[in-house]
């Protein structure tokens, strides 16, 4: 008994050890640079994450077809940041993934993170490794806020670059839109318990109060809850002009359906969390009608320039892209551009040099010119507003800043 136990133990340890020691997806080859992308491939955000990975992959394929970045082939190294224990993204797993990127000399930068929660966990690690990561969708302002420099970039230099603006703009701009365009006098604010949703709802609430919109209340939806009739009945009793919902798809779909039954006429405001092309279909055509969504970037999908890109994406991947497919795509372009500039300057292409080059990015893309400020935030702080009409998101315009 005892001996069998001991041998079993050793066998298991050996097996674990072997799997751990075995190299990941093949050894590094010369002249192939890897770009990391740690993203919740599985779990609750699997669909959005798929759209983003495909956006990034499309950029990689195009660059490689044209002969690569400064003649070097690029490779996207996707790691899942979701764990079953969390059921969605897991900051600890994201941290592990970034350590993997930093340890690998062939990795020159990364696309990500998708979620602000992951961003907070990996930013200090990226800072230690002096590696740039270009986020396609993380909008929490803390990560790049110089106030939290000691925490999120202990080495001081910017590492967390983003192709989207932050919730400092997204929430407030919608508040301005509600005041100026919709002339809303009162609003009830809901969030979905998630880091993003709570944050964006907070910034919305603050701005709405400043603008003199009466905030009738604030409550929190459990995204796994089925019944929102209770809270909606309560809100109906207060008779607000508008409802603001900060959060992502999971709760939004159910909220839209039940809201439609209870208060079909109220103004319905959301964020980029519901800007998902499947939203009208999942919520139901009638229920989705009239919902306002935003993205923290200029409009691209309805832009004539982007049509060619969108068609290409659709034919290649047999699915619809999202705006953040484009910000992911652009993330790869930013890194590739930095590689070219580093190579041109005759410096070795490595994490540090690429990171440094990204600071000076000035790149014309589908979302306009990408430039970053000294903290890594995009200079173009445009928030675009969309509204669902006839089951489709229609571009309304740029949300006013003031």
């Amino acid at each position: 008994m005892i001996r069998r136990g001991v041998i079993g133990t050793l066998a298991v340890l050996l097996a674990v050890g072997l799997l751990v020691v075995l190299p990941g997806s093949g050894g590094a080859q010369t002249k192939t640079y890897k770009i990391g992308m740690s993203i919740p491939v599985t779990g609750a955000d699997a669909d959005s994450s798929d759209a983003m990975v495909k956006g990034a992959q499309m950029a990689i394929d195009e660059i490689n077809q044209k002969g690569g970045a400064a003649g070097n082939k690029l490779e996207l190294w996707v790691l899942d940041s979701a764990t079953p224990a969390a059921g969605q993204y897991d900051p600890a797993q994201a941290a592990t993934n970034y350590r993997k990127y930093i340890a690998d000399g062939a990795v020159v930068g990364a696309i990500g993170t998708m979620m602000s929660g992951e961003g907070k966990a990996i930013s200090p690690i990226a800072s230690e490794g002096d590696m740039a990561t270009v986020s396609q969708s993380a909008t929490n302002p803390d990560i790049t806020d110089p106030k939290f420099k000691a925490q999120y970039r202990p080495k001081g230099k910017p590492v967390f670059f983003r192709n989207v603006t932050t919730d400092t703009y997204q929430g407030p701009n919608v508040a301005v839109y509600a005041k100026k365009t919709l002339n809303a006098k009162s609003v009830y604010v809901l969030d979905d318990s998630g880091a993003f949703g709570v944050g964006v709802a907070n910034t919305f609430t603050k701005k709405a109060e400043e603008l003199g919109i009466k905030v009738l209340g604030r409550d929190r939806l459990d995204p796994k809850e089925a019944d929102y009739k209770t809270i909606l009945t309560k809100i109906k009793g207060m008779n607000p002009d508008a409802i603001y919902y900060g959060g992502v798809q999971q709760a939004a779909v159910k909220l839209a359906r039940q809201l439609h039954e209870i208060m079909p006429k109220v103004h319905k405001l959301g964020s980029d969390g519901i800007y998902d092309l499947s939203f009208p279909e999942q919520a139901g055509k009638d229920a989705a009608e009239g919902w306002v969504a935003t993205i923290a970037a200029p409009d691209m999908l309805n832009d004539a320039k982007a049509q060619e890109w969108i068609n290409k994406f659709k034919s290649k991947y047999k699915r619809d892209p999202q705006n953040y497919s484009i910000t992911s795509y652009n993330g790869v372009l930013v890194i590739a551009d930095a590689i070219e500039r580093v190579a041109k300057a005759g410096k070795p292409v490595n994490k540090s040099n690429v990171r440094e080059a990204i600071e000076k990015t000035k790149l014309n893309t589908l979302q306009g010119v990408i430039e970053y400020d000294e903290n890594g935030d995009i200079k173009n702080k445009v928030v675009s507003v969309y509204q669902v009409k006839d089951g489709k998101f229609k571009y309304v315009g740029v949300a006013p800043e003031n």
């Binding site: 298991v12 020691v21 969390a86």
Partner: protein
Amino acid sequence: MDTETSWAATSPALARWRAIPLGRRRQLLSVVLLALALAFPFTGVNPSHVDAAANAYTYVLLALGLNIVVGFAGLLDLGYAAFFAIGAYTYGAAASFQLKPAWSEAWAPLVWLGQVSRVPVDGQPDIVQLHFSFWFMLLVGALICAVFGVLFGAPTLRLRGDYLAIVTLGFGEIVPVLALNLEGLTNGAMGLPGVRTPRLFGFDFGFSPLPYYFLGLGLVALAVVVSLRLQESRVGRAWMAIREDELAAGAMGVSHVHYKLLAFAMGAAVGGLAGVFYVAKLTTATPDMFRFPVSVMILVMVVLGGMGSVRGVVIAALVLSFLQSTILQELTGYVNALGRQIGSGWLAKLQLINSLELIFGVILVLMMLFRREGLFPSVRRVSALTREQQAALPSRGTTVTLSWADPKPAGASPRPLLEIEGLTKRFGGVAAADSIDLTVRAGEILSVIGPNGSGKTTLFNLITGLAPRDAGVIRLEGEVISGLRAHEIVQRGVARTFQNIRLFNNLSVLENMLVGEHTRLRAGPLGAIFRPPRVREEERRAVESALEVLDLFGNRLIPRLDHPVYGLSYANRRRTEIARAIMTRPKLLLLDEPAAGMNPAETLELMDLVKALRTLGITIVLIEHKLDVVMDVSDRVVVLDHGVKIAEGKPVQVRNDEKVIEAYLGRRRRAA
């Protein structure tokens, strides 16, 4: 066993290994494993694997903590992640930008100690930034969790196992919701901002995985040592006794309130350590990190490794953590590559990580159906009996002495040992005991007889405090013992056996005996962990005392010292139970049908023992159906019928009592 013998036979190396004593072997193995673990980061592995290993150590800690609660004490906790959360937020709140109390002079001593700083704010009063030492908070976190463990555990003490599980599940659901909604304390869903990394003598742990790896390893080693030492101690035996049979544990003097709360507290404390460590490493925490799936994952680790098996739990926790963080990811890479090679779209897209929860479910079901003791059950040191031992003639005890016994001539004591007055117990409308008056004299053998359902066992339950009485008084040596709890009554010198043997089935004969010694030992959890000479000495004496008692049974039990009792013969289990009762050094021993199921020779042997015990000064009350035995061995006989004492006297008197013949024997005759 066969395969093992043949290996040993063919391999001299293994034979030599086997020749080393078990304790030594374990030590050697531990040293080798520890050395391997220490060397692991320097074997050229990818630092991300070191990071994953540090995370895995967190899970090992959690699993070891849960193992104390579920494995040792048998209390199924489905909300264990709550303690992980409480530990994490304790450190997170005390060492981050989250709490910003206003400055006042009261903070000055802490500034001097370097635990907080005064931070000026433009145009507003100064605030205090908390950055309590990680090492200090490790202790505080564990303590706070221990307190919560007691708080969450206390309401469950009276509940059955499955209700207890649901209550813990409830707490496990409430804690993350509180973390989400109490934003002032936790920053809710946005996550704790800027938790400080640990510092040690000016060295900042920072964001490299290496220091965390070693810290985690240290904590795991600590938890392993603590678990192992607790397991083989008075405390661990008390837990396992409660797990095996709460009622019998109480009858041996184990306070289930005390030990259940202790298990909750210690389990929670380990969870708290894990929480503090994890949040210091991750530097942020969100409520989602502590939900039900995390509790289940920890439970799966314990179930897979084997509840109560420290070694098994460590292995299972390591394997499952790596499965989640690394193995499935890497395998996915290989499978996808294979899929692309052979042109299988399904394989190329397969995400194995998705199936982890499915794997958890399958593990739980398969383990419960086929291997409830886990893959690596706690070691049972069973040495098979030699042929000679098996064939040996049963021998009676050579010396019928007990060093602690105080033989007094029968009837020497002026007061009766036990006095019962007006004892009454009703179940609904039926009186199982109806105003019973009874005295037991010191040094006598008193038999209680009566037809089935006449209230004999109820009488025992009332005397030993296992059932609450409705009326009446019970005195032992003049002191009232009615109303005391079971373990207190044992401590005063009343021990019993049960009609349907209630041994701790998965414990060995020796361990069962040592539980009997529980009330005489003093070691608490600290003593169990640090094992000062005092504790070693009392353990040594306890084992001696156990051997002395077992010697009363000749060669019946001594050769089977290390055998789990579920494997013993029926008669040997009866003997073990009696021996265990004698271990408590009773003045009064209540034997409930001790000869049931024994053959005539065994019965005779037992009755000789009973008489011998009396000569050692132990007073005996016996419930027995074998009337010839009763008549032979008893000094006096009491007859119960329908909860009423209908006769009392010497065996001969009772045998000839008309009422008894009618109520008892008469009815029997008719029934036959």
